[in-house]
Subunit: 262 residues, 2 copies
Amino acid sequence: SIKHVAIYGKGGIGKSCTASNIAAACADEGHRVLVVGCDPKSDSSITLVGHRIPTMMELIQGGGEIKEEDVVFQGYKGVRCIEVGGPEPGVGCAGRGIIVAIDFLRKVSKAMEEVDLVLYDVPGDIVCGGFSAPIRKGLVSQAYIITSGEYMPLYAGNNISKGLKRLNTPLAGVICNSREAAGEREIVESFARELGSRLVAFIPKDPIVQECERRAVTAIEGAPDSKIAEVYRALAREIMSGAEPRVPKPLSDERLLELTRT
Amino acid sequence: SIKHVAIYGKGGIGKSCTASNIAAACADEGHRVLVVGCDPKSDSSITLVGHRIPTMMELIQGGGEIKEEDVVFQGYKGVRCIEVGGPEPGVGCAGRGIIVAIDFLRKVSKAMEEVDLVLYDVPGDIVCGGFSAPIRKGLVSQAYIITSGEYMPLYAGNNISKGLKRLNTPLAGVICNSREAAGEREIVESFARELGSRLVAFIPKDPIVQECERRAVTAIEGAPDSKIAEVYRALAREIMSGAEPRVPKPLSDERLLELTRT
Ligand SMILES: Nc1ncnc2c1ncn2[C@@H]1O[C@H](COP(=O)(O)OP(=O)(O)O)[C@@H](O)[C@H]1O
Ligand SMILES: Nc1ncnc2c1ncn2[C@@H]1O[C@H](COP(=O)(O)OP(=O)(O)O)[C@@H](O)[C@H]1O
Ligand code: SF4
Ligand SMILES: [Mg+2]
Ligand SMILES: [Mg+2]
């Protein structure tokens, strides 16, 4: 059966970078992967395809007939990518856009069925009904929260876990994308444990990631023998082998402050 | 006539800190101020009131009769504060919450009429129809964008300007809250100029701000003779004397990348 996995986290924390490297690592192991970019920044697929691709919302708003090859793009080792795109600034609903795009994709393409893994890259700054659309539509079977040891990304992560709890959706694990903050690993391990989950990956901050990004490739493709590529491969295996996802138990605001003050 | 001013910017860029210091500086000059916190983090008023205050959404969701003193709190030199609060994570719409809260406030209180300045502290990570609610409802007469010289906050600022343009709302100016990035002042000055606006304040990064925040006071109250307090006072005078707000001309994605690569 197809795994539908969402990666949620604060803007700028490393969702797209991590998701695209996971996708590339899974493709290396022979899995068929579809990446669905749900961030209005539409930058989930640049390192997989080699350049920015048109968004579904741009195409839908433009009118006219749309075929599968207008929205689904193939990248590294056959990874397929779509970018939902954002609402028209100031008027639309980012969340409704995700639903419109997914419904449209189903009409023009079989991409959602002919894969082993669908990865949703979703911003977690605002945990509203809109951004939880992939979950409310019953698409996502498990979610990962990506954070660092700093207060703001943890606050966003905790808020995401409140949304997951409210929607009775299991949390499969917490990923720490290191910002080299003091005591980061212990803080994020405690955070994951208190949520009733666990830390599934500690991704070091590594300049190779940005070098590859500048060349519009993932670290998996651009530096396959590097230590960081191995970290992404291990995370990809974890995601495909499946953890025991559990509905999270969010922390109180006081506890979250305590945890980051240590 | 009452000035309704919105301050938009990416999460963590310094909206609440800047808005509360502006409010305190305006109160020092004898202006009557109301701060409306529209960020689901509900931390716009902590340094004005001295502690976190209950949010309107919590009270409204709790049911029961609500009086003015349950939602409107007085802080430093009589500054009045309300926190809208966020949607229930995963289900509500952060934007609709703002409209519900403002309509409710009007029913229980005259706070919106008995002031000279209403400051809306609004997150700008997602520029959807929801967060532009204060604008669409005709409340906000002018907006300020707060950013640093880094790509992510500038990207959010540019997206906000697209929303302002779409809603034909004037941009009164750009505020740079320094992150001490290389060439920051020049980058943000160019950004402001190309939007058809101008840089109205360059706020240095200053440890006094965080020291005061830990004591739950603004820099205006906690360090009135400091250089940073003077910067906030100058910005407060700029906001009250009014710039010539103009509808912005957003930059293209390519130009924005170019600007931050210099
Ligand atoms: N492990 C890492 N080491 C170094 N840089 C990283 C790492 N992960 C992400 N980054 C950098 O952080 C920035 C933000 O990452 P991105 O994936 O775009 O965040 P998001 O999708 O959450 O907004 C990118 O420039 C990326 O190169
Ligand atoms: N000029 C400044 N100098 C030093 N620290 C600052 C400054 N402005 C904001 N900060 C700090 O940055 C953090 C984020 O600011 P905040 O106002 O909460 O952001 P936002 O409301 O945009 O999410 C706070 O901890 C605050 O103390
Ligand atoms: S549901 Fe979320 S994305 Fe949609 S309009 Fe409301 S706040 Fe914006
Ligand atoms: Mg991204
Ligand atoms: Mg704030």
